[in-house]
């Protein structure tokens, strides 16, 4: 196990180090010595997921000799206020930084190593931040309800080898001790339409929660407008020690079909079997997802109107339940410095009272164990330029919820949540 992690750490660090050692040679912005396989890798978000091609990722690109490096980073400092007896208040930060280095291998091949880091284990204290109706994973041995867990220090660590086997046809092999398998839409931290929302979607564990999985291997083939990929990975969700890399056997699988009808569109359907994902819940999950993503670039370079529509369904073999989730999300730039954003969700929740078994049993007897919850968020961000290489801004968002009458005694008739935040993002040169 240690050997395997060490191998990938050395490989990834080696790539990044080698790139920096070549700094004595030719250093410059932009890319050099690319090929179609390299251009394909450059368009990937986390793992092998992909936003619409027309979305300009806010990415710094610098080459060191023949190494091309890319750097992206995003951070929010958030003050949240959530209403009712199950709500809470907190000051926290969500954040991530992604670095990758790519080098051509022969005429048609490209090797890329990437590393994604987050300081959330430190910047989200007590292993969660308040988020009404959010469920998934554990804190201090208890299931998290009405809260969102932090991401791991190492959100991603992996390598790609892509090869152009024919005109417009790329094969990509992705191996990652920590990575994002071919299951679900683009994960919300990397999704163009979620760019101005600091908090997680409450449908996260129905749609894109596998974005930090252990021991991921994915093989994909992309030809023209279609991409097909399949993954093996370890299904257990990250444990509470967020500072380490965990390991496990490859006990889960998934497959995904992408279709890119035009530059502004991306669509995927995917399915997989996740072995025992939740530490405290029995059984496996069979997950099906479908999503449609749209990006329309605006006149200002790097600015785009992006929207997503996502469906995700979990079938829990332990209970057994079929739980559906639906999400619509959009961010619209208004003028040069303003963003209006929104997210609407409907989710079938069965773990809302998993931290209070007595209430859960009482409700199960009287009203059932699954409750359809709606979350409706509207927000605004204003860019306030302060630094040349950073996009700084301030914003707020407000969420209202719909819920069944049976659970109103615990949440109130009109539960609501609000966030005020500062956003800092690495800014590519104009």
């Amino acid at each position: 196990m240690f050997r395997k992690i060490s191998f990938f750490c050395i490989l990834s660090a080696g790539g990044l180090l080698s790139a920096s050692l070549h700094a004595q040679e030719r250093v410059g912005t932009g890319m050099v010595d690319m090929n179609p396989a390299g251009l394909y890798l450059m368009n990937l978000a986390s793992g092998t997921s992909q936003n619409p091609l027309s979305w300009a990722m806010p990415m710094l690109m610098i080459h060191f000799g023949h190494w091309n490096t890319m750097l992206m980073g995003n951070a929010f400092v958030v003050d949240t206020q959530q209403s009712g007896p199950r709500g809470g208040d907190k000051l926290y930060s969500t954040n991530w930084l992604m670095a990758s280095a790519a080098h051509r291998v022969g005429a048609k091949g490209m090797f890329e190593t990437n590393l994604m880091l987050s300081l959330e284990p430190a910047t989200i204290t007590d292993r969660r931040y308040p988020l009404l109706f959010q469920t998934g994973e554990t804190a201090y041995g208890q299931p998290i309800a009405d809260g969102q867990h932090p991401h791991n220090l190492i959100m991603g660590l992996g390598v790609h080898y892509a090869y152009e086997v024919a005109e417009n046809t790329i094969v990509d092999l992705y191996a990652a001790p920590v990575g994002d398998p071919a299951l679900g839409p683009i994960a919300y931290p990397h999704r163009a339409s979620a760019l101005e929302l600091p908090q997680a979607a409450i449908s996260h564990h129905w749609q894109d929660s596998t974005h930090i999985s252990d021991d991921v291997v994915t093989l994909g083939i992309s030809r023209g407008k279609v991409k097909v990929e399949a993954s093996g990975f370890h299904g257990a969700e990250p444990g509470e020690n967020r500072w380490i890399i965990q390991q496990g056997t490859i006990d889960s699988w998934s497959a995904r079909l992408w279709y890119f009808p035009a530059k502004n569109w991306a669509a995927q359907v995917s399915g997989g079997r996740i072995a025992h994902p939740e530490a405290l819940a029995p059984g496996d999950q069979i997950r099906l997802t479908g999503s449609l993503h749209y990006t329309r670039p605006m006149a200002r370079e790097g600015s785009a109107w992006s929207s997503s529509f996502v469906w995700g369904r979990n079938h829990d073999t332990g209970t057994p339940h079929n739980l559906n989730s639906y999400l619509a999300e959009s961010v619209v730039p208004v003028g040069a410095r303003n963003f209006i954003t929104g997210r609407a969700e409907l989710v079938d929740k069965d773990e809302l009272f998993s931290d209070e078994p007595e209430i859960e049993e009482r409700l199960a007897a009287s009203a059932g164990s699954t409750f359809r919850v709606g979350s409706y968020t509207i927000g605004y961000t204003r860019d306030i330029p302060m630094f040349e290489r950073l996009e700084t801004g301030i914003g707020f968002n407000f969420s209202a919820y719909s819920l069944p009458a049976a659970i109103k005694p615990w949440y109130g008739d009109h539960p609501a949540g609000g966030n005020v935040f500062i956003r800092i993002r690495l800014k590519p040169p104009a």
Partner: protein, 115 residues
């Protein structure tokens, strides 16, 4: 009738005068059709085994846009369909250039050699 249309004519004249004052009359620019990824850098740096035209087409498949390089100035082109025919070639573009957005609002594009 004249009295009613008077203010509209005056407003149109003012608008026209404002456009002239802002220098928004079309100009002709001659340059090479490139992409915003490569910009003013040689395409051979980016994709060694491809022609300039292939490089431009590959780069514009993603988030990068067709642009015109006129000397050292890289101007994004408002029309992103017509330039596909002229990738890597020298063209003459008539349009209005907006310095702020570095975008050339295209009225027409033709090959510089007139073919």
């Amino acid at each position: 009738m004249m009295k009613k249309s008077g203010p509209a004519i005056a407003a149109a004249c003012t608008l026209f005068a404002a456009c002239i004052a802002r220098g928004e009359s079309p100009q002709t620019f001659t340059g090479i059709v490139t992409d915003t990824m490569c910009g003013s850098k040689p395409h051979s740096n980016m994709l060694k085994d491809k022609t300039a035209a292939e490089c431009v087409r590959q780069c514009t498949r993603g988030a990068y846009r067709y642009a015109l390089i006129d000397g050292t100035a890289v101007m994004k082109l408002s029309d992103q369909k017509t330039p596909a025919r002229y990738a890597g070639q020298e063209v003459r573009v008539t349009g209005v250039y907006d310095e702020k957005s570095k975008t050339l609002k295209v009225e027409s594009i033709e090959l510089a050699n007139g073919k």
